[in-house]
């Protein structure tokens, strides 16, 4: 439990720091940090329970994009502002580093293995973002449609 609390605090400051570097609007700084915390905690607890990092990255970025969408609607600013900080912790820096280290040590097979894993994780993050976007669009559209039909029925 202590471990999770530490991770929450640490991931908040890490994402907020990245958000400062990318110069997000000042009033949304806390929310950017919060998006990062949510994504990271999902990724962290899933991998702790033994899920593969690729799947965990997918779920992490999926939730990040949905939360970012909600915030974007609330603040009326582009949702990319909330996404960018949030996905940075999920980027497979460790895998890419290991790939590089093995290539430098002339162990190309091992390097290729790590490199492919890094590529897969990047793909998973991307798929998470795209799926979430399509998902929210579908929901928004169906809500709007149901409202319209409701109004039509009500008028009659």
């Amino acid at each position: 439990m202590m471990d999770i609390i530490t991770q929450i605090i640490v991931s908040f400051f890490a994402t907020a720091g990245i958000a400062i570097i990318f110069n997000v609007p000042r009033k949304t700084l806390l929310h950017c940090g919060l998006v990062g915390v949510i994504g990271w905690i999902i990724y962290y607890s899933l991998t702790e329970r033994g899920m593969d990092v690729v799947n965990a990255s997918f779920f992490g970025s999926f939730v990040i994009a949905i939360v970012a969408h909600l915030y974007a609607r609330r603040f009326k600013i582009p949702m990319i502002i909330f996404i960018v900080g949030g996905i940075i912790p999920l980027v497979p820096g460790g895998m890419a580093y290991n790939a590089m280290r093995n290539v430098v040590a002339d162990d190309y097979l091992q390097g290729l293995q790590y490199g492919l894993k890094a590529f897969l994780i990047t793909g998973a993050i991307v798929m998470g973002l795209v799926f979430a976007e399509v998902f929210t669009q579908l929901i928004v559209r169906s809500i709007r449609l149901s409202k319209l039909t409701f109004q039509r029925v009500y008028k009659k």
Binding site: V10, I20, P25, I80, V84, I87, A96, V104
Partner: protein, 250 residues
């Protein structure tokens, strides 16, 4: 008739400026096109066509008017400017402000530097690097070294970027500095895990916005922009990786 044309010129100037600021600050290309077309529609230009890429914008009003082009050479990541331009376009399309007011506001947005002072950015990078170390299961004893490496790496990035304007060279030098700090800290007994120090300190240099934008552009059907941004992200990642490889070779 003459008045109408002068009006059109002002509108096109305003639209191109808005698109230019957005692309220079790192917005997605499809959002730039969408914003410009919405603004055009609010000014009763129904036949407007717009084609935006990361290196330039082409905007046309149809048969009667000359097509206008603006080329863009430098791009940074400045999310605040994107949000500001977005709010200007929102207010213009809902007719809360006039075209002249919008143009003045856009000009002042373009001139202003919204970045925090460099020392604050370096501090943020240092703090973020230290926090990433804990997130990647590093020990608290390496925390100060990771902060130092991340902060100094970012400082080197800013300085070299100011001196040479070659983005990949500055990223290469910055990760070289990070690699050497991690290497020497381990050699002289200040740090324990060189791998985790390097991975966490490199994090502030990761091209997060490029990756996100490349994908969103690709999914929106803007293959040219998506590919261009993907190539830029790949080159950045390659610069970081090459520098780390150099330090690991010691």
């Amino acid at each position: 008739m003459v008045l109408q044309e002068a009006d059109n010129e002002l509108t096109i100037d305003c639209l191109l400026l808005a698109g230019r600021i957005m692309i220079e600050s790192g917005a997605e290309t499809y959002r730039v096109e969408d914003t410009m077309l919405r603004m055009a529609k609010s000014q009763k230009m129904t036949n407007a066509q717009c084609y935006a890429t990361p290196t330039g914008i082409i905007f046309s009003l149809g048969k009667t008017q000359p097509t206008r082009i603006t080329s863009i050479s430098k791009r940074v990541t400045d999310l605040q400017k994107i949000a500001l331009v977005n709010s200007v376009s929102r207010r213009l399309t809902s007719h809360m402000i006039t075209l002249e007011e919008a143009y003045d506001e856009l000009k002042s947005i373009q001139k202003t530097n919204y970045f925090l002072p460099t020392y604050l950015q370096v501090l943020a990078a240092a703090l973020a690097s230290g926090c990433f170390l804990i997130m990647f299961q590093g020990g608290w004893s390496d925390f100060p070294i990771a902060c130092l490496a991340g902060g100094l790496g970012f400082l080197v990035l800013v300085i070299i970027n100011h001196l040479t304007k070659v983005k990949f060279f500055s990223e290469f030098t910055a990760s070289l500095a990070i690699g050497f700090i991690a290497f020497f800290s381990e050699k002289y007994g200040y740090g324990t895990e060189i791998d985790k120090i390097i991975i966490s300190s490199v994090m502030p240099l990761v091209p997060g916005i490029l990756i996100t934008n490349a994908v969103r552009d690709l999914m929106a059907g803007h293959f040219m922009s998506g590919m261009a941004k993907g190539a830029e992200a790949f080159l950045t990642a390659f610069a970081i990786g090459a520098a780390i490889a150099v330090t690991l070779g010691f």
